[in-house]
Amino acid sequence: MKRLSNLKFQIIAFCLLVPTLGLSQEKEKPVQDVELEIEAEYRYFLDEANFSDQLDHYPSLAMSPEYSLEWNKGYESINFTGFFRLDRDDERTHWDIRELYYQKAKGNWELSVGLKKIYWGVAESNHLVDIINQTDAVETFDGEEKLGQPMVQFSYITNKLGTFDFYYLPYHRKRTFPGRKGRLRFGTVIDKDDLGYESGAEEWRQDLAVRWKHYFGIFDVGLSHFYGTGREPLFVFDEQGNINAFYPVINQTGLDLQITHNAFLWKVESIYRNADAQDFLALVAGLEYTFSNIDGNGLDIGLLGEYLYDERDELSLNALQNDIFFGSRIAFNDVQDTSILIGGITDLESSSKIFSLEASRRFGSNWRAEIEARIFNDIDDSELILSNFREDSFLRFTLSRFF
């Protein structure tokens, strides 16, 4: 099995490599690495479905193969990560190339060309400044899974002025919404193909982004700007009450700041987004404090608190417009890397609350089990987005095997 997949990837990678390998192949033997993760998942929704055709039980299988080839002492490489999921919801059955890129680093610069995943930001409860990749919205509720984004990324490292990242993003990928049988959806099923673009170039609009990141002692600062088709669709209601949803062209400026002082992490993320149809500011600010090695055996208990603000109010897609997040991260630092994250988000203006729990533990050296729970509690009728999910509290179990 392993040998077979190894061979297949070798062929694929070899085809991709031929143009780039010629230059440096005489220097060193390339190092290759093949990994495969297979995951069994079971999602169980506790309450009776809000909309017709929705189900309660969702057994699912996913796999993620990885291949990398490094040469020139690791300063040049080809990297591939694929993803496939099979689910009872047809829209959640999906595949993606998470990453497939060539990378070269030399001295104070690094270049990546291909599909890649980029993360920006410091906060835990909401990822505002993180905009390069489209969210894989059917994969997880927290939005931390992303689709591979085609790009050319150039990083320039300076001694005194920090790091500058330049991104050329030639293609936009739409967000996938749950299908008819899926949970965590709106009353009407949104087909991603029904959503249009503001730009006449549609998905081929050539987008740009830049980010500056530096640290001064205990301060880590990032400043970013994105100009292009937004990753979040915009829902506009006309006078007849019809919904018009499309991907607008936006300018978004983002700031992320973390101050790391003793056991305190102070965090701020803020964005200002500007489009023809919409202008708004959003902010998340908070802190993380960790009591470490409490029992002398490595038990760490972290406390998290964040305030979330979004000027879009109820139109904000993630429904975090004026909310407080509180949570606790418990890490046992044991051989199995056992950890638990519990938290809740509560709306300051209504009764709406979401509670969550994520726990994971390794078994042996190649297995990992996870438990996730999301509980929607007392969701206010006035919540335009969240009210659709009020019956969608769920438990999720996964078991992963790594090869």
Binding site: G74, E144, L265, Q336, F403
Partner: protein, 260 residues
């Protein structure tokens, strides 16, 4: 001119020796620590792979593989990059540490699953490193400024020095370190005493190898916890001193590159 310089050199050498006999245990301890630091000066940078074997009190073992890159700096502490190769669910997890001679270290953690770099607090010095018997502070760069010293005794070529951590967040009241004066002041053994001043752990270095005729590197570290009866063994591969790593190899960009 040249002659007078020579005389000064002779005189100061004599003076140092003379003072050596009358110096306090504190001074002699510090002198040994500085001699050890000096003996290892000039390695530039190194890359080494290692296997960490965790053994619980029933003898059950669990392994992990790591790669460590180190950049030597003289004005401030060293920079290091640690990457996990296994267990596979954490493969690619990496840390970047800037050690400081005075004050808290700067540390960043890379989480490969979401490609996130997170600045983390270096406050947690006494906690175990990935479930092992090594605390974070045992694995960080051993800068002279981080301890107060007291020479205890000499046993032939072995010099025993007590080291008291300057940082109150350390998990130890003291460490008793055995240096080998004839082998470039390499470390042979460290005994760790907990906050109650009870013997907690013993770290033994073995399979020493001399690189470039100057740098001693132990290829085996064995840490035994006397209170829990757990053990952690580190087996190092061959050190690579020829990679000529630079500051750019110890940046957030490099952290993401090595973790992928």
């Amino acid at each position: 001119m040249r002659k007078s310089k020579f005389l000064i050199a002779i005189f100061s050498a004599f003076f140092t020796v003379a003072v050596g006999f009358s110096q306090s245990a504190e001074e002699r301890g510090l002198q040994i620590a500085k001699a050890a630091e000096k003996a290892d000066e000039g390695f530039g940078s190194s890359i080494v792979e290692l296997k960490m074997t965790l053994k619980n009190k029933n003898g059950q073992t669990s392994e992990r593989f790591l790669t460590t890159q180190t950049l030597e700096l003289t004005e401030d502490g060293d920079k290091s990059l640690i990457v996990f190769e296994s267990p596979k669910d954490v493969k690619g997890t990496a840390t970047l540490t800037f050690t400081h001679k005075v004050g808290a270290d700067d540390q960043w953690l890379y989480l490969p699953s979401i490609k996130r770099v997170k600045r983390i607090s270096s406050n947690n010095k006494s906690g175990p490193f990935v479930g092992s018997e090594f605390a974070y502070e045992d694995l960080s760069s051993q800068e002279v400024e981080k301890y107060a010293y007291k020479f205890l005794k000499a046993e032939g070529e072995l010099l025993l020095v007590e080291q008291d951590p300057v940082d109150p967040k350390s998990g130890y009241t003291r460490r008793v370190v055995t240096y080998n004066k004839d082998k470039g002041y390499r470390l042979e053994k460290v005994e760790f005493y907990d906050r109650k001043n009870a013997l907690l752990k013993t770290l033994t270095y073995s399979d020493y190898k001399l690189y470039k005729n100057k740098f001693w590197r132990a290829l085996t570290f064995n840490m035994v916890n006397h209170q829990s009866n757990k053990e952690t063994l580190l087996n190092f591969g061959e050190y690579n001193f020829g990679a000529e790593l630079a500051e750019e190899d110890f940046t957030e960009v490099a952290l993401k590159r090595v973790g992928r």
